[in-house]
């Protein structure tokens, strides 16, 4: 752990990513203070599509709502969709990968072959199919983002299990008569910690992009919601009058995605140097 921390601290881009993620988490926690209690949903048509001013630091959107307040209020929404999505994907994904990798054989092989096919299939399309079945809304979006990232977690887990299951310490445990459950739990799962953590960080980044994209397409939380992609969708008609409605939430998405991408890359390079690309 100490070794990892020392290495990570020297990893510049990883630290930058960590700082961005930390900053965004702080912003989420401090959201009520930052917005000074303003209501992100308060419509004020007299002030619609205002350019930035002293009263509205980033201007207002098509309904006269304060843009800065909305972007800040959107952070917990966008972030929670991505984080919940990743958590939803992680548990079944890890189990599928673990079992398919450990009990190779016919079923494991078939399972993994289908997982491979799903990984090659664009996640946003999987999510859209799920939404066409489940309908639109914030929990449906979480569900769609989550289900669509199960394959990638299963894949990461499968590869890890494959790489350790024939190693000496696993063979030794089996030779000593350890039960499968003990081997999986004590010897294989701990080795998967690093790659799964890395995938979680990268997964939050892609989930954020996908969730924002779906909201932008009108397949996310319904209109007044200040989800970042939804704000941009609302501002599409304001390209000329108030470009901030598009620029600000887009920058917020890009920064957050960048933060989690850099953090994930940094974790990969330092947690397990063997994974370094």
């Amino acid at each position: 752990m100490a070794v990892f921390l020392r290495r990570f601290r020297r990893h510049t881009s990883g630290m930058v990513g960590f700082a961005i993620v930390l900053l965004i988490c702080l912003a989420v926690l401090a959201a009520p203070v930052l917005t000074r209690g303003a209501d992100p949903l308060a419509v004020d048509l007299a002030n619609s599509a205002q350019r930035p001013s002293a009263q509205f630091p980033l201007g207002t959107d098509e309904m006269g709502r304060d843009l800065l307040t909305r972007v800040i209020a959107g952070a917990p929404i966008s972030l929670s969709i991505a984080v919940v999505g990743v958590l939803l994907a992680m548990i079944p994904g890890v189990w599928i990968g673990l079992l398919a990798g450990f009990y190779e054989g016919r079923i494991g092989g078939w399972l993994m072959r289908s997982i491979d096919a799903l990984v090659a299939f664009p996640r946003i399309l999987l999510a859209m199919v799920i939404i066409s079945i489940a309908g639109t809304g914030i929990s449906q979006l979480m569900f769609a983002v989550g289900l669509s990232s199960i394959p990638i977690f299963a894949r990461v887990m499968f590869v890890t299990v494959q790489s350790v299951r024939h190693r000496d310490f696993v063979q030794a445990a089996a030779a000593l008569g350890a039960r499968d459950r003990w081997i999986l739990w004590r010897h294989i799962l701990p080795n998967a910690f690093a790659p799964i953590l890395v995938q979680a960080s990268l997964g939050i980044a892609t989930s954020l992009q996908i969730a924002a994209g779906l909201s932008f397409l009108g397949l996310g939380p319904p209109p007044p919601s200040p989800e970042w992609g939804a704000i941009i969708d609302g501002g599409r008609t304001l390209i000329r009058q108030q470009p901030m409605v598009i620029i600000a939430p887009g920058l917020a998405i890009a920064m957050t995605v960048l933060g989690f991408n850099l953090l994930g890359d940094g974790l990969r390079d330092t947690l397990d140097p063997r994974l370094k690309r």
Binding site: S114, A120, V129, I131, S132, G229, R240, I246, G250
Partner: protein
């Protein structure tokens, strides 16, 4: 990779597409509500719904319905749309070309610029240029595709008026969507090219070529790049799916009349048969692109042909 291996690959792809079709068919059963009611519309009287159920065979056992569905697919019959009530295929067929054009142009742009940038970064390793390109590609991966699209539209269409902001008709209409689609893909291609080139440049035959006085450009393009291309072709084939996913969003930004806009509208209307058709067709495109990248690798690397 021999001919037999290629055939086996092809077989696996057919199985994949078949699996996707069966999965979407089964998923349709999870849609809440009665399909006969969806087809008839909300105001139709109960007798009409019953008649549709009988006529369409919706009360047959599941495996018979599945069989009928697969036979339909083989003959290009994707069923009827809940929205237009007409065959899904009639709506989908005009959408294939725009999506194909957009994704192939996006891919072409990304490959051209991505490979060039990757080679440059590799031969100028550790310089400002290398760092700059790596920053650009990290950013490129992080920018949401629809946002890039709107920004390009804002600048090049609304302000400079160089290109039309949306629609379809001339090559000018293609420029902005193709570039916005290419950005994310450019980033991953240039990263891949850089690391692949760095690896190859250390190989003995590159050193030999240099030592015997082959011109630098020729060493780079003929000896190094050709070998570095293998993983790039594979990755490009595998990631083509992600590109298609991006195309779905890009199309909606630019009102491009392809499968993406059709799919988004169909998801909104819960027009499941159309969504299903789009998914199956896109799955076929992805399968074909993986196969093409295998073929291309055979062409680039004669060693693979001997198997």
């Amino acid at each position: 990779m021999t001919f037999a291996m290629l055939l086996r690959r092809l077989g696996a792809l057919v199985v994949t597409v078949l699996l996707v079709s069966v999965a979407t068919f089964l998923a349709m059963r999870l849609v809440p509500g009665d399909p006969a009611r969806m087809i008839a519309g909300p105001e139709a009287p109960a007798e009409v719904v019953e008649a549709i159920r009988r006529d369409w065979g919706l009360d047959d056992p599941l495996h018979i319905q599945l069989g009928r569905f697969l036979v339909g697919l083989a003959t290009g019959d994707f069923g009827d749309s809940y929205r237009t009530r007409g065959p899904v295929w009639d709506e989908v067929k005009t959408r294939l070309m725009p999506t194909f054009l957009l994704s192939v142009t996006g891919l072409g742009l990304a490959l051209t610029f991505g490979i060039a940038a990757g080679v440059l970064a590799a031969i100028r390793r550790g310089t400002v240029l290398d760092t700059g390109l790596s920053v650009v590609s990290t950013l490129g991966i992080s920018l949401p595709v629809f946002w890039v699209g709107i920004l390009l539209m804002m600048f090049f269409a609304a302000r400079l008026r160089w290109f039309p902001s949306s629609g379809w008709g001339s090559w000018q209409h293609l420029v902005l969507p193709a570039f916005s689609l290419g950005v994310g893909f450019f980033a991953s291609i240039s990263r891949m090219t850089r690391s692949s080139m760095l690896e190859v440049l250390q190989d003995d035959y590159v050193r030999t070529a240099r030592a015997k006085g082959v011109p630098r450009v020729k060493v780079l393009l003929k000896h190094a790049l050709r070998n570095a291309l293998l993983p790039i072709v594979t990755i490009a084939g595998l990631e083509f799916g992600r590109l298609l996913g991006g195309a779905v969003i890009t199309e909606s930004v630019f009102a491009w009349p392809g499968m993406g806009t059709l799919m988004v509208n169909s998801v909104k209307f819960r027009d499941y048969p159309t969504v299903q058709a789009c998914v199956i067709l896109l799955a076929i495109c992805i399968a074909v692109s993986t196969f093409l990248s295998d073929l291309l690798n055979l062409y680039v690397d004669p060693r693979l042909r001997r198997g």
